[in-house]
């Protein structure tokens, strides 16, 4: 029996006067991997950002529910506590804040929400050692300021490291493959696969089918101009790889 994790209904949003999402529908069950593909500017990052609760975007229509609860108006932090995770396409640099302190604060804020005690230093460090190994994060990066001076690939690994530490129910990976060479891509994909279980789900946003060789999706959706215009299984990704998007979007002016 499939158990619904997240349901997006008729979602529309805008920023300023610009409409970006124009009616997105998507259901993700526990244990599933969904890939969202689509041309540049089609709204993939916007969708992931809105899912994570970025209120720079104004939701004008529709709803998002997560584990049976309507979260359309919920703060980003509460979504995070309840198991939502977004690996950013462009991870943010936070100068002066150490990676480790940041994560510890994040975990403890969640514990506080659930009425649990702060995580003991020893357990925390053990967890850091284990999870950073999983994604091959360079030891020196742990104590550096969050993402500051990290290479593109290091930033992406750091995102997956954070994901491993927070152990979310829904992980949204926004173009995690961009900026990774093939070895890094394999390590990161391997890390993601190890974290997969029957209890959680993953939404993989990507431009290229390459990543999907390693993180194999159950479903593939094509987002275009703020709407999902086609869904299928993993073969859809292969088809897109061969034919491009134009045959779907009706854009022939290439």
């Amino acid at each position: 029996m499939k158990e619904l994790l997240v349901e997006i209904k008729d979602l529309e949003c805008k920023i300023g006067d610009q409409e970006i999402l124009k009616g997105v529908n998507l259901k993700v069950n526990k244990g599933e991997v969904h890939a969202i593909m689509g041309p540049n500017g089609s709204g993939k990052s916007t969708l992931s950002s809105v899912l994570a609760g970025n209120d720079n975007y104004e939701i004008t229509e529709g709803s998002i529910s997560f584990l049976g609860e309507d979260i359309t108006e919920m703060s980003p932090e509460e979504r995070s506590w309840k198991g939502m995770f977004l690996a950013f396409q462009y991870p943010i640099e936070i100068p002066g804040v150490s990676n480790i302190n940041f994560l510890r604060t994040a975990l403890n804020e969640r514990n506080k929400f659930f009425g649990d005690d702060p995580i003991p230093a020893k357990d925390f460090l053990k967890m850091v050692a284990e999870k950073s190994g999983l994604v091959g994060l360079d030891n020196r990066l742990k104590n550096r300021s969050v993402n500051e001076g990290f290479s593109g690939g290091e930033k992406k690994r750091n995102e997956i490291f954070q994901m491993a530490m927070l152990n979310p129910k829904l992980s949204i990976l926004d173009e995690t493959d961009s900026g990774l060479d093939i070895d890094a891509l394999k390590t990161v994909a391997n890390g993601v696969n190890k974290l997969k279980s029957a209890e959680n789900a993953t939404i993989v946003i990507t431009h290229y089918q390459r990543l999907l060789d390693y993180i194999v999706p159950d479903f593939v959706h094509v987002l275009n101009d703020g709407k999902i215009i086609k869904s299928g299984d993993k073969n859809l990704a292969l088809e897109l790889e061969k034919k491009g998007y134009d045959w779907l979007t009706g854009n022939t002016t290439k």
Partner: protein, 404 residues
């Protein structure tokens, strides 16, 4: 004018009549004066200052200061509060209070460095501390000097004269505080430091004077191969003004001026600094961080002057600011004047607001909005705060910054 209203029993002795003469000839500054362009003195000028010497601070623990090691010297309303102080003899240090010293105080009036407030100070001195560190003594204990105003409308003129002899070192912590609900008091302070060859001085200044005035004129003379580090943490004040004049009079010196200032609700905090490089082969670093909130106003005017023949100078100056809301403001003016040709200097200033994407990133990882902002503030001041190597003191500053 303040001086006309004074019915004053001050410690004016010896040559200080000269400073009184000079003071009489010096006009009270106004905003037309380049040095006071951004800081209004109207209110200060109008106040009916009185000279009050009563004590009302019952114990030092009510001040919520960090753990202190070493000497604790408490001045309240310009008088030594011996009950709150902790004296003992420290090897290598000669320490005296002007009020109990038999010698005449002969302030060195150097007309080049004097201004209205430094002259007001030496003309109407309430109390002064004089410290001499003997040659070769590297003092492990701190000297903590707590300077409190606890009486409304009182004018307090205090000073610290400090000589570090060759090869000596010391760490001084000054606290300038307004007690309880005190309003419109004025602590007008002078620091006169001489750092001789190969000596090292660290000065931490903590200033928290909500609803009160405070001006500190710091004059530092450095000799060859000496080191001077000043960390200024200015939390609040109706007007808190630091005038630092750091003259580097020898080669191979290291000078560092760091600061964090956090004006909020009706506060005005002004940092004016000048570093004079007269000799070659020296390094100076200046780093001030401002966090302005509500209608708080911050001012940074830092000047580094590399004089002719002062070759191979490395001088870096930086001022970064965050405005937490629309009513807050900052005037930032970093200045470099270079008259030598073989130098490495830079200066810069940035002012911004919290980056919304950064806040979202932190919240998406589970930090509340409040925690996310706190973490951003900690990150912002981190490089400056780490200059104080004592973790009790660092925690104390962090806590006070976040409280604001």
């Amino acid at each position: 004018m303040i001086t006309d209203k004074l019915i004053y029993s001050s410690l004016v002795r010896g040559d200080s009549n000269t400073s009184l003469d000079l003071l009489r000839k010096t006009p009270f500054p106004s905003r037309k004066d380049e040095q006071w362009k951004y800081s209004p003195l109207k209110k200060l000028k109008k106040l009916p200052f009185i000279n009050n010497s009563g004590f009302s601070v019952k114990s030092i623990s009510t001040l919520n200061l960090p753990k202190m090691n070493g000497l604790i010297l408490v001045l309240e309303n310009g008088r030594v509060n011996a009950n709150l102080s902790e004296f003992h003899k420290i090897n290598g240090i000669k320490l005296s209070f002007l009020s109990s010293s038999k010698e005449n105080d002969n302030p060195i009036i150097n007309s080049k460095k004097e201004n209205y407030f430094s002259l007001l100070n030496s003309s109407y001195l309430s109390e002064g501390i004089s410290i001499e560190v003997g040659s070769g003594f590297r003092v492990q204990e701190n000297i903590n000097i707590i300077n409190i105003v606890s009486s409304n409308d009182s004018l307090i003129n205090t000073k610290l004269d400090l000589i570090l002899s060759e090869n000596s070192s010391i760490h001084i912590r000054q606290y300038f505080l307004a007690h309880g609900k005190t309003t419109n008091g004025f602590i007008n302070h002078n620091n006169n430091f001489i750092v001789q060859n190969n000596a090292a001085l660290v000065l931490d200044k903590f200033q928290d004077l909500k609803n009160n005035f405070h001006i500190s004129n710091d004059f530092i003379e450095q000799e060859e191969s000496s080191k001077f580090i000043s960390n200024t943490f200015s939390m609040s004040g109706l007007l808190t003004r630091n005038d630092i004049l750091n003259n580097v009079n020898g080669e191979q010196c290291h000078s560092e001026l760091n600061g964090i200032f956090t004006p909020f609700k009706n506060d005005h905090i002004d940092n004016h600094t000048t570093i004079n490089h007269y000799f070659p082969n020296c390094k100076s670093y200046e780093n001030y961080k401002g966090i302005m909130k509500e209608n708080g106003v911050g001012v940074f005017n830092g000047k580094v002057i590399v004089h002719e023949n002062a070759q191979k100078i490395e001088a870096f100056q930086q001022n970064n600011n965050i405005l937490l809301n629309d009513e807050a403001s900052i005037y930032s003016k970093p200045e470099l004047e270079i008259y030598a040709d073989d130098v490495k200097c830079s200066h810069g200033s940035t002012t911004g607001q919290f980056d919304q994407e950064s806040i979202f990133y932190l919240r998406a990882r589970g930090l509340t909005l409040k925690k996310a902002k706190e973490l951003m503030i900690l990150g912002f001041i981190n490089e400056v705060i780490q200059k104080s190597e004592n973790s009790d003191y660092i925690d104390f500053i962090l806590e006070r910054v976040l409280e604001n």
